[in-house]
Subunit: 402 residues, 2 copies
């Protein structure tokens, strides 16, 4: 038989979230009477709100009519691209700089195609697994060396640096993955921090892939919701975003990327033109039904629902954070983000994960799964029904770690 | 700035179909009164039939209810995977060998990840562009040399070999892309031909990616609708398929791949395990609404509608083929496939494309866009409203080429 892509052998373990799901299933099988509560995988739990849901339903109905039927959408419905530019970017981008996709994770996988195997990669540590795993698949990560990949620059985000990395660690000509509000730490970078990031990227000839998938959870008006609030960001940054969490579209699949036309490679060639070509070649558009839902979400009524849904999950986050803090556990996040990053100093995070599951039947995500600097942390996700979150908080009163 | 993936510079031109769409737009702008009929891009035109459409509508409604809401689907709804195995493969595959996706093109882009840059690639010539372009993006195609890529083995499918290639041209340890019913030629390989293909793949340690996206257009019961009708195919073949054409789901986005567990790399490692990992890492599942539509399509009522819709497009195909043949133009396809491959011997196919557009305001696709052996051919697509197809046939009576 033909040979395997050698980069695949470099993937250290299974993808984190299926691994968590597997451990949950194993636990449930061994304890059939346990009522397991998941605060692990960030999977949305609440129904899609009425106005946005009506957008989906009407979108589906249209396809059954001669007048409303549509086939391939290519880069996405022009009205949706225009609304995204208007609602999220004050109309700063032309519609052909907004690319509709089936979600941020899928876009991140495709984006790596632009830079090839030779690119240096820098990631916040801890970080969402696809930045590293996608780089491994693309052959840009090098071999595994004990706690990380040789070709990846890990930028530790710890309590010591207030979860914003030392930018001096970034090597010139790197691809920088940066996520704010951060998954998993819940930390949100402020204007000064993101300005420093953009300045570093420009000075060091880097491109930032800015993951803003949790931007709609920001409530502090001083915090930037997009990298393009920072001067000159369009010269060095691509942004990916998603409707998954703010609309409950994790199963519906809808997101977008922004690739400004002024963004260039070292050679002067247009990143935008390449992205257009890559999307046309290996992607065929997001579902038109999902796009009709997205359109409904961006009118006045839809924006109110998006606010209500994110408020709900932020309410969960506050309950979890308060419960943990009452127990004397240090944590950040949960105020402008749906994730709470809880510190268990000196402990192995997989062990804490297992202990919380065993003692309280609560699924979390072990911090070490997000990178070496995640060791000693556990991530609590605020996606859950309110009653389950309340019960989880009660169960946590009998605290796990002393 | 950081450098561009060098493979991107290897992509010879724009992706074929956006190029066709661009030429159509340019023509329409220059001739604002012309009624342009598209028989070019294979984009479906007919509304989704009632029972399947109700599946989509109900699927969308469910997401607005507490009981019906669902988030991430991972590899797809188990019921859908089970039905696919039952309906298309007589239950031969377990549900975890069926992976639900957002379409065949997207799967083909991801599949290349399994084999990396070093793999040799063989394609039918002409062929659907993503096989070659996806290989170029993955760095497996080598440089462009006049009529093709140095690293790709082109297997000419011509009138002389009855549009089935000489399998002796395939090099050992290759990845073979094979499409039947073929896009663009419309030729369908018979049981003996596919048996020879499987035998060749096994003897030469190759893996076949079998694209069966048009299988539901097969009406001749002696012709295989899946590679797995051939003995031992599961040892050497992955199959991709799609609901785009048989259900009119080009905009809805739903397809699947079959990766048998017995399929191994040379090293003995499981291709299935890697595909599971790749899908989990850079994909997040097809839209759940689309999947509910797919479920409706696979019950008795849905299967009848699928048959009715493919019958309708095959009716178009017959009209186009008859019109061309009356004009003395040799063509194949259109009986068990929605594409008609029309021969204009000795002529440049982009020139014939331009002439048909100018003289008859009909958009086709130039054969050379599908590979060097497509030169001298033009593809007519049978996807269109009946009235438009009839008008196109009338316009063709004033024939273009003498």
């Amino acid at each position: 038989m033909i040979t395997r892509n050698p980069h695949l052998a470099n993937l250290k373990a299974g993808y984190l979230f299926p691994e968590i799901a597997k451990r949950r299933r194993e636990f449930a099988a061994a304890h059939p009477n346990a009522k397991v509560i998941s605060l692990g995988i960030g999977n949305t739990t609440e129904p899609i709100l009425p106005h946005i849901n009506a957008g989906l339903v009407e979108g589906a109905k249209k396809l059954g009519t001669k007048e409303g039927y549509s086939g391939y959408q290519d880069e996405g419905l022009p009205e949706l691209r225009e609304k995204i530019s208007k609602v999220f970017y004050k109309g700063k981008f032309s519609i052909d700089e907004i690319f509709i996709s089936d979600g941020a994770k899928c876009d991140i996988g495709r984006l790596q195609t632009l830079f090839g195997t030779g690119v240096k990669v820098a990631v916040q540590d801890p970080s969402y697994p696809v930045y590293v795993d996608g780089s491994v698949l693309a052959g840009a990560a090098g071999g595994w060396e004990e706690t990380g990949y040789a070709g990846i620059t890990y930028l530790p985000c710890t309590a010591e640096n207030n979860f914003f990395p030392n930018l001096d660690l970034i090597q010139p000509n790197s691809l920088i993955y940066f996520c704010s509000p951060n998954n998993p730490t819940g930390a949100v970078s402020d204007h000064a921090q993101l300005s420093a990031l953009v300045e570093t990227a420009i000075n060091k000839s880097c491109i930032i892939i800015f993951d803003a998938a949790y931007s709609e959870f920001i409530r502090d008006p001083s915090l930037p919701k997009t990298i393009y609030e920072i001067d000159k960001a369009e010269l060095c940054a691509i942004e990916v975003n998603s409707f998954s969490k703010p609309l409950g579209f994790t199963g519906v699949r809808l997101g977008w990327s922004v690739v400004p036309k002024v963004l260039k490679y070292k050679s002067g060639e247009s990143v935008h033109a390449d992205w257009n070509r890559v999307m046309g070649t290996i992607f065929n558009g997001a579902s038109n039904i999902a796009q009709y839902g997205g359109l409904a979400a961006l009118d006045d009524e839809g924006l109110k629902e998006m606010r209500a849904l994110t408020d709900f999950y932020l309410g969960n986050a506050k309950l979890i954070r308060d419960a943990l803090q009452k127990l004397g556990i240090n944590c950040i996040g949960g105020d402008n983000s749906p994730y709470i990053w809880a510190h268990f100093p000196g402990r192995d995070s997989w062990e804490v994960f297992a202990e919380i599951l065993e003692k309280h039947q609560i699924v979390t995500t072990p911090g070490a799964g997000f990178g070496p600097a995640g060791q000693g942390f556990v991530r609590f996700s605020a996606f859950g029904h309110r009653a389950d979150v309340e019960e989880a908080c009660n169960r946590l009163q009998a605290i796990v770690t002393q």
